[in-house]
Structures are given as structure tokens and as C-alpha cells.
């Protein structure tokens, strides 16, 4: 026992750790089942069967169904609201299912450099159109870099590119290098625009990932509306400057919303209780001020916050007809583009109440650069506007000194700087960014309004949910059949040794799933195939060892000597074979995409886990058996 103490601790720790990492997956599945049960979909179907609708018109039918749906889903919304934190938490930590298993869209987008060159050009004339036609044709034939082709064409035809790319009085080489910079930064811009929109679209667990120099992948689980997603990804970004509503007005409106929710109609009653607010418990406060328990206000700065978990609730609240009545029609509620985390680890979104009508749109922005202010060393963003924009901007900033203007891209606020003084020449400086990354992001967003980042969909995959469910079932059945064959065979052929190997194999499956959960890895159908294959490869190590032990036993060695020799002699072969498999898996991971990477990952995890369980766990079991006085172990 003593010499194995370390190994036993290791095994127990591995088992516990796997269970710990797998628990959220189990929890999440439970929540899903509960929500499904509460969602009333079965109840709705039942109700519709009992109360058949007699040939209503299509529009009426839809409205009727919608109202029924709403009535039946009230329970699940309530359940979600009360448990939202733990539901989201479990969802984040569970093993993710790939798009092929849960359905959804996988899209690869590429920045359309040709279109970008064309969109950026000003004062286009016939010569430009002719040149672009030639460039387009050549690019389509040779797949060469469009900007290089443009440079060749311009030089051949003797066209000065500076004519089309404004504000640059340089030779072609300078213009070309400027265009190359723009093409490079276009992907960041395009990704930020897409990320922002996808976040607002409300997809759970989207993935947005750069692939090479000019492409990125967007994965939207559970989304199947192709047309909607296409317009979401490809429509032109809208950058706007919007004025924040004055604080005192906002507070008044919030108070009346609070009163409506608390069921109070006269404002006197609210004045009465406000004095004792500080002495109330949170529960009492929530009851008296239901709105302010969701929306927090910083009394000093006037900033408004809502916790990540309450965002949906707030949206639903603001859409209530009785609440809508007290909100001025000019009000628009916008969220910050991302949540921030408090010291307690809670996530909050800042809420901005702005005037619906934009002061100015972002198309007047000609450039924006993130810089470090030489005097204060703080990151700043310098923004330039064209002459028309500068005139407007001077008027706007002059009229709104000390007020705040929100920079809004596709309805998400990226910054809401305060106007210090009138800006006459269109050249503004924005301060107050926490770090250089934030400043860079803001500059990207500001440029998005002015510079196009047109994207092409080069690959698109849309998997319906039923296909994914079929795949999961097929994977489960083949996995169970495969596992059963191996377990029965091993037990039958190697007897006690085989049963020990079976135990190791089952623990091995637990480890693989645990590691997948710990890495937040995605399980795909090829990944399941990889796991099933791992069952076969995992027992190979045991087969090698047991065959060796049998050989050693026939030469008349004692049990202990035979086991010792079996393990040590089989080790080099096991080691060499598995190193090769492991590196082949790594190569596959490097060159494969998506689902195949999922396969390579499960294969690699499976190899390491199976080495651990097949060599260490089985050995510990035999050692313990011998220490307990076993003089023979049946290896078949």
C-alpha cells in the first residue's frame, strides 16, 4: 500500500477533478430539461389538440398562437429569472456541443479587398472604372492579391492613384502602402462590427475567431435563419453620435416606472418611504422599489448599471405597455458594448439613456487614431472629420458643452465622452480610456463609420437541429455497442485482468470527458468517433501487457515477477506507439479545421488518459490484490 500511496492519491484526485469539471454539464442538462418542461410546449400542443382552431385567417392564427405561447411560457421565464445566474454559470462551464450536434450556423467571412478599394475611392471617373474592371478580371483569374494587381495596373496605365484616394498627395507607392494598411486593419474592423451585432442578436455562446490574414469564422449555435444572419453579417455598419438625456429627467422617469411596478399611483407615497430606504433589507427594498432593484444608479456620476443577469428582465420591463406610457418617446435605452466585472466578480452593463435622433452619423469621420498623450501619458483617440462634418460638429459641440455624447455603433455604446468645449475644426480628442486596448478598439469603431469593411461569405454551413439530434443518438448507440463488445471480450478473454482493464477503460472515459469540460472544448461528431476509437486503442496497452505477463508466467516465474516483467517489457512498445499517435494527432489538429480539430483533440486527450489508466490504474489494482495475499491472478 505504502509504495502505491502516491499513485492512489493521483488516481483519486483525477477522478474527483473529472467529476468536479463534469458537474456543470450535468447541472446544465438538468436546467435545460426543467426549462423545457416548464416552457409549456407540450402543454401548448395538448391544449391545441383539445381546442382545435377552425380555419382562421393566417394573420389571426399567428397572433392567437403567439398569445397562447406567451401564456404557456410564463412559468419558464419566471424560473429562468430566479435561477438565471446559476443557469448561465453552468452553461458556461459545460462541455459544449459542436454545431454539427446541436444545429446552427458556421460561417467563414473574408474581407472583400476589391470592394473595399472601390468603396474607398472618391471622384471616380471612367478611367478608374476601366482600371478596376481590369483589376477585377485579373484577380478572379489568378487569385492574386488585389492591391498588388491594382499597383501594376495603375503603373501600366499611367494613372495617379492619389486622384481617387483623397487627402493624399503622394505617389502611387505611398497610396498603395496606405491601402495595404487599410486592408490589414479592415479585418479587425469587420470582426468588431460582427461581434457587436452578434452580441446584440442574442445568440448564446457565439464564437468569432480569426483564421489567417483575411478571414474569420463566426459560429452561431441554435441559429437557423439563414437570410437574417446573412443580413446581420453583411449589412453596412452604422456609426452615430447621440446625445445623452439629462440626468434629472432620467431620474424622474425612472421613479415613475418604479412606482408603476410597485403598484403605487401617487407620488406622495414614494416620497414617504424614500427616507427609510437605507434601513431596509434587500428583499424589502426589492418589494418597494422593484425597478431600482434591477437598475442601479451611481448617485454621484449619474451612471446607470444593470447586472448581466437582469438585462433580459429590463428589456421585457421597458416593453410593458404601462411602463411605456411614462417613458418619453424621444428616449432610447442603449447598453455598453461589453459588460464590466466588479470586484465581487459580478458582471454589469452600463445603460445609456439617449435621444433617439442622432446628432450626426459616422460617415463624416475621415480618420481616427489611438495615441498616447505625451503630457499625461494616458491613451487618447484623435478623431478627424471632413469639412461638412466639422461644421456640424462645431455647432453641436458648441450647443452641448458639459453634456455627454454617446458614440454608438449598431446600437451599442462604445464611449460617451463629455464635451469640454466647442470643437471648431472637426479634430477632436477623446480621453478617459482605461488602457491602450480600449483606445484602439474605439479608434477601430470610429473608423468603421467612415471606412467600409465589406465582407464576403466564403463558406457557410447550416445544420438543422434534427440532424444534430440524430447524430448524437447515432454516436451514443455506436459508442455503447463498441464499448460493450470490448468490455465483454476483455472480461471473457483475460478474466480478472480483463475486468481490471474494463474498470480502467471506464475511468478513462470519465477522464476524457473531464478534460474536455476543463478545457471548455467542443464535442463534435468526429470527436465522438475519436472517443469510440480510443476505446479500442486504450485496451491495446493492456493487451500488450497481459500477453507479456502470460508469456512470463509460462516460463515459470512467480506472479509478482511475471507482472513486473510484463509491465516493464511492454512499456517501450507502448511508449513508442503512443508518442507517434500523439504527434499525428497534433499534426491533424494543426491542419484540420472545426470538426476535425475536435476529433484530433479527443484523440490526443484519449491517448494520454488511456496511458494513465491502462498502465497506472491496472498496476495499482494488481499490487493491492497481491498485498492482500493473492497468490494467483487470473489472466485467462
Amino acid at each position: 500500500m505504502r509504495k502505491n500511496r502516491f499513485k492512489i492519491i493521483l488516481i483519486v484526485a483525477a477522478v474527483l477533478l473529472s467529476l468536479y469539471y463534469l458537474y456543470p454539464t450535468y447541472e446544465s442538462a438538468n436546467y435545460d430539461a426543467r426549462l423545457d418542461q416548464l416552457s409549456g410546449q407540450p402543454k401548448l400542443v395538448e391544449y391545441l389538440q383539445a381546442h382545435p382552431v377552425e380555419q382562421p385567417t393566417d394573420s389571426l392564427k399567428q397572433a392567437y398562437f403567439d398569445s397562447l405561447q406567451q401564456a404557456f411560457s410564463a412559468d419558464s421565464i419566471r424560473y429562468y429569472d430566479t435561477n438565471s445566474k446559476s443557469i448561465l454559470d453552468a452553461k458556461l462551464k459545460r462541455i459544449k456541443l459542436g454545431l454539427d450536434l446541436q444545429g446552427g450556423m458556421h460561417i467563414v467571412l473574408q474581407v472583400d479587398v476589391l470592394k473595399m478599394i472601390e468603396d474607398m475611392a472618391r471622384n471616380k471617373d471612367q478611367a478608374f472604372d476601366q482600371m478596376m474592371a481590369a483589376v477585377t478580371q485579373q484577380v478572379q483569374q489568378t487569385h492574386a492579391d488585389p492591391i498588388t494587381v491594382l499597383a501594376q495596373q495603375a503603373n501600366q496605365q499611367g494613372i495617379r492613384l492619389s486622384r481617387y484616394y483623397a487627402d493624399i498627395r503622394d505617389d502611387n507607392a505611398k497610396v498603395i502602402s496606405y491601402l495595404q494598411d487599410q486592408a490589414k486593419s479592415a479585418i479587425d474592423r469587420a470582426m468588431e462590427i460582427v461581434r457587436n451585432r452578434v452580441d446584440q442578436y442574442g445568440v448564446s455562446e457565439p464564437t468569432i475567431q480569426k483564421q489567417g490574414g483575411s478571414r474569420f469564422i463566426v459560429e452561431l449555435p441554435g441559429v437557423t435563419n439563414e437570410a437574417e444572419v446573412r443580413s446581420l453579417l453583411q449589412s453596412t455598419a452604422v456609426l452615430q453620435f447621440k446625445l445623452l438625456e439629462p440626468e434629472d429627467v432620467v431620474i424622474k422617469v425612472f421613479k415613475s416606472i418604479d412606482d408603476i411596478m410597485a403598484g403605487k399611483t401617487d407620488s406622495l407615497a414614494s416620497a414617504d418611504t424614500s427616507s427609510s430606504d437605507s434601513t431596509m433589507t434587500p428583499a424589502e427594498f426589492a418589494k418597494k422599489h422593484p425597478f431600482f432593484s434591477i437598475v442601479r444608479m451611481d448617485s454621484r456620476s449619474g451612471d446607470i448599471y444593470v447586472s448581466e443577469n437582469d438585462r433580459d428582465k429590463l428589456d421585457r420591463l421597458l416593453a410593458r405597455p404601462d411602463v411605456k406610457q411614462v417613458i418619453p418617446t424621444s428616449f432610447q435605452f442603449l447598453y455598453d458594448h461589453k459588460a464590466f466585472t466588479t470586484a465581487q466578480g459580478e458582471k454589469y452593463y452600463e445603460v445609456y439613456v439617449v435621444d433617439k435622433d442622432p446628432l450626426l452619423t459616422g460617415s463624416v469621420v475621415t480618420n481616427a487614431q489611438a495615441q498616447v498623450d505625451p503630457t499625461t501619458n494616458a491613451p487618447v483617440v484623435d478623431m478627424q472629420m471632413n469639412s461638412q462634418g466639422a461644421r456640424e460638429w462645431a455647432r453641436i459641440t458648441g450647443a452641448n458643452v458639459h453634456k455627454r455624447i454617446a458614440i454608438v455603433l449598431d446600437n451599442a455604446v462604445y464611449s460617451a465622452p463629455q464635451v469640454i468645449n466647442k470643437i471648431p475644426n472637426g479634430s477632436s480628442q477623446i480621453t478617459g480610456m482605461g488602457n491602450m486596448d480600449e483606445a484602439n478598439l474605439l479608434a477601430i469603431v470610429l473608423r468603421a463609420g467612415a471606412l467600409p469593411a465589406p465582407v464576403d461569405i466564403v463558406e457557410e454551413r447550416n445544420v438543422g437541429p434534427s440532424l444534430g439530434a440524430d447524430s448524437i443518438r447515432d454516436g451514443m448507440i455506436s459508442g455503447i455497442v463498441g464499448l460493450a463488445i470490448i468490455i465483454l471480450f476483455m472480461g471473457f478473454y483475460y478474466r480478472t485482468g480483463g475486468v481490471t482493464a474494463d474498470l480502467a477503460l471506464l475511468l478513462n472515459i470519465l477522464f476524457i470527458l473531464g478534460v474536455l469540460a476543463a478545457f471548455h472544448a467542443t464535442l463534435t461528431m468526429p470527436g465522438i468517433a475519436g472517443m469510440i476509437l480510443t476505446f479500442a486503442v486504450a485496451v491495446d496497452a493492456n493487451v500488450l501487457i497481459y500477453e507479456r505477463i502470460r508469456e512470463e508466467m509460462t516460463t515459470g516465474k512467480t506472479l509478482r515477477a511475471a507482472i513486473d516483467q510484463g509491465y516493464s517489457k511492454a512499456f517501450t512498445a507502448i511508449f513508442d506507439a503512443n508518442i507517434i499517435s500523439l504527434l499525428t494527432g497534433a499534426i491533424l489538429y494543426q491542419f484540420g479545421t472545426g470538426e476535425v480539430q475536435g476529433f484530433a483533440l479527443t484523440l490526443m486527450i484519449g491517448i494520454v488518459a488511456s496511458l494513465f489508466s491502462a498502465i497506472i490504474i491496472t498496476r495499482v489494482v494488481f499490487d493491492i490484490m497481491m498485498e492482500r495475499g493473492a497468490t494467483s491472478i487470473n489472466f485467462g
Partner: protein, 329 residues
């Protein structure tokens, strides 16, 4: 229980017969590939692929006649799975309209109003991506083989590495041929060369290598144990020693893959098929290609007379290159 009591089969002696068998199989496969071509999946050539389900089921000709109306009469249409599912593949074209899937579903629904159609999967790949994926797949297999060549050279000897890599080439070529022949003769298997199939090729490379390494490892051990014994005898002894393990491991892998082929559904069918062929040839090639090449290298290049029993032939002793270097120093 024991399936294989101690055997003493003369594996290496019959290697020339098996060379012929292997070459013939590879040749048949390559000829098929040459004539019929390979059935590339959408990811490698670009285009659009729709998977749809209809209730009740329909004839492929019916679907084709509907597609003819929107100019996709030349689409590849096959049945997919068992439940009235169909795979429609439209070639990549210059101006690929953005909503082929909507058009297809629309024309099917209007042509056959009483049939219910569901779009299960829609997969669209641009031609540029396809070319890149093909290149990546070839690179992946090349790097895997290169790595194996280097690793086996370090752990064993260069000629063993050559034998192992040639055995892998043999496995990949035979499997490729089998895929080409079966996708031609048994079209409902829907065998396509796609990313998953490439994953299968790399996995079978690793799997076949497993087998080879186990045999080589035993040869390495037996050469030390039976110093001075004839190489052919040592090899035969080693292959016989490990035969039981070879058959059992291949058997379990085969059974599991068969389960995957039968129950695993369409997505993994190609993978399971290629792996099944690969496991079989991998087992065989470890004996008749990898080990046989090492023997023939000694017979024909080194001119060692292996007919003479029990001659001292120190050149045959496997020593790892770094061990040789250490001894010399």
C-alpha cells in the same frame, strides 16, 4: 483461454507472394482512381450541398425534374441515410447565387405541394477555400510521414523507418483505392474525400504505425536475446511472439469500427469505412511490408546470406544510432 497458442509460422519466407498481392491491389485501386476519379466532398472542391428530408419519400428523378426548372438539373442527387433523406450537390459556379437553398426548397415545395420537405443541412464552400483545404490535407499527411521517418530512425534504425513509411504508403494507397472502388460500386455508402476522411487517413497512419512499432520493438529485443541468430528467424519469432496481441487488438478495433459503420450514421460512415480498411491493411503491412523490406534490404543491398543458419551477422543487430555513437566514442 487462448486463441493463439505459440505459433511458428514462416511469415517472412512468403513475403514475395504478398509483394505481388499488394502491388496488384494498389494497381487496381490506382487504376480505378485514374478512371473514375475521386469523389471529393464539398469542402475540397467548393459548391453547395443540401441535405433534405421529404415525407413521403420521393424518386430521385422527381427531385431532378423539379431542380431542372431552376437550372440545377445537373446537380448530383443521392439518397442519404434511411429516412427519405436526400443529398443534393450543386457545383461551384462563377456567380453563385446567395440563396440556392431557398430556391431549391421553393421549387420543390411548389412542384410537389402535397409533400412535406425539411432542410436538414446546408453547406456552402467557396472554390478558393476548397483548394486551400486540399493543400492542407496533403501537407498534413506529408508532415505525419516525415515525423514518423525521423522518429523511427532515432528509436530504431533508418532502414526500419524506411520500411515503416513504405508500409504506411501501402496502407494509404490501398485504402484510397478501396474508397474509390466502393464509392463507385456501392454509391449509397456516400464515400466522399472530405476532412473527416483525411482525419481517417491520418488516424490509420498512426494506427498502422502502432502495429509496426510493436513488432519492431520485439525484433529489437529478440536480436539482443538471440545474438547471432539468422535475421529471418528472429523476425519470424518476433512476429509469432506478438501475433496474439496483433490479432486481438486489430479484432477489437475492427469490432468497434464496425459498430461505428453500422450505427454511427452518415457523418462518420466514411471515417469508419476508411479506418476498417486501414486497420486490416495496417496489420498486414506491418508484417509483409515493414518487416519484409528490412529483410530484403539486408538480402539485396547488404548482400547478407540469410540462407545460412546461425551465421554471425553483427550488422543486423539493431542498435539505435545514438547507442552506436556512444560506443564509438
Amino acid at each position: 483461454m487462448r486463441f493463439f497458442p505459440r505459433t511458428s509460422v514462416d511469415f517472412v519466407g512468403k513475403r514475395h507472394i504478398w509483394y505481388t498481392v499488394s502491388s496488384t491491389l494498389i494497381l487496381i485501386g490506382l487504376i480505378t482512381v485514374g478512371i473514375r476519379g475521386l469523389n471529393y466532398g464539398i469542402g475540397f472542391v467548393g459548391g453547395e450541398e443540401l441535405t433534405l428530408e421529404s415525407t413521403p419519400g420521393m424518386q430521385i428523378a422527381q427531385i431532378r425534374s423539379a431542380l431542372n426548372k431552376i437550372g440545377h438539373g445537373d446537380a448530383e442527387i443521392t439518397t442519404y441515410g434511411v429516412k427519405n433523406q436526400y443529398l443534393i450537390r450543386v457545383k461551384a459556379s462563377e456567380e453563385q447565387s446567395a440563396n440556392t437553398s431557398a430556391q431549391v426548397m421553393n421549387v420543390l415545395r411548389t412542384t410537389y405541394p402535397t409533400t412535406h420537405f425539411t432542410l436538414l443541412e446546408d453547406n456552402k464552400v467557396g472554390p478558393e477555400i476548397g483548394a486551400e483545404m486540399r493543400r492542407d490535407a496533403v501537407m498534413a499527411i506529408f508532415y505525419a510521414l516525415l515525423f514518423i521517418l525521423v522518429y523511427v530512425t532515432i528509436r530504431f534504425q533508418f532502414i526500419y523507418a524506411v520500411g515503416a513509411v513504405l508500409a504506411l504508403f501501402h496502407d494509404v494507397l490501398i485504402t484510397l483505392g478501396a474508397v474509390a472502388i466502393c464509392s463507385w460500386l456501392i454509391p449509397w455508402l456516400n464515400l466522399q474525400i472530405n476532412q473527416t476522411m483525411v482525419a481517417a487517413f491520418l488516424t490509420l497512419v498512426a494506427y498502422s504505425m502502432n502495429d509496426t512499432v510493436v513488432i519492431f520493438d520485439r525484433i529489437r529485443e529478440n536480436l539482443k536475446l538471440y545474438k547471432g541468430e539468422n535475421l529471418i528467424r528472429v523476425m519470424n519469432r518476433s512476429i509469432n511472439d506478438t501475433l496474439s496481441r496483433t490479432i486481438i487488438t486489430s479484432g477489437t478495433a475492427f469490432a468497434v469500427l464496425l459498430a461505428l459503420l453500422i450505427f454511427g450514421g452518415e457523418v462518420t460512415r466514411g471515417f469508419a469505412f476508411a479506418m476498417l480498411v486501414g486497420v486490416t491493411t495496417g496489420t498486414y503491412s506491418s508484417i509483409y511490408v515493414a518487416s519484409a523490406i528490412v529483410v530484403d534490404y539486408n538480402v539485396y543491398i547488404k548482400k547478407v546470406d540469410l540462407k545460412v543458419p546461425a551465421t554471425q551477422s553483427p550488422v543486423l543487430e539493431i542498435e539505435r544510432p545514438y547507442e552506436v555513437a556512444a560506443k564509438r566514442a
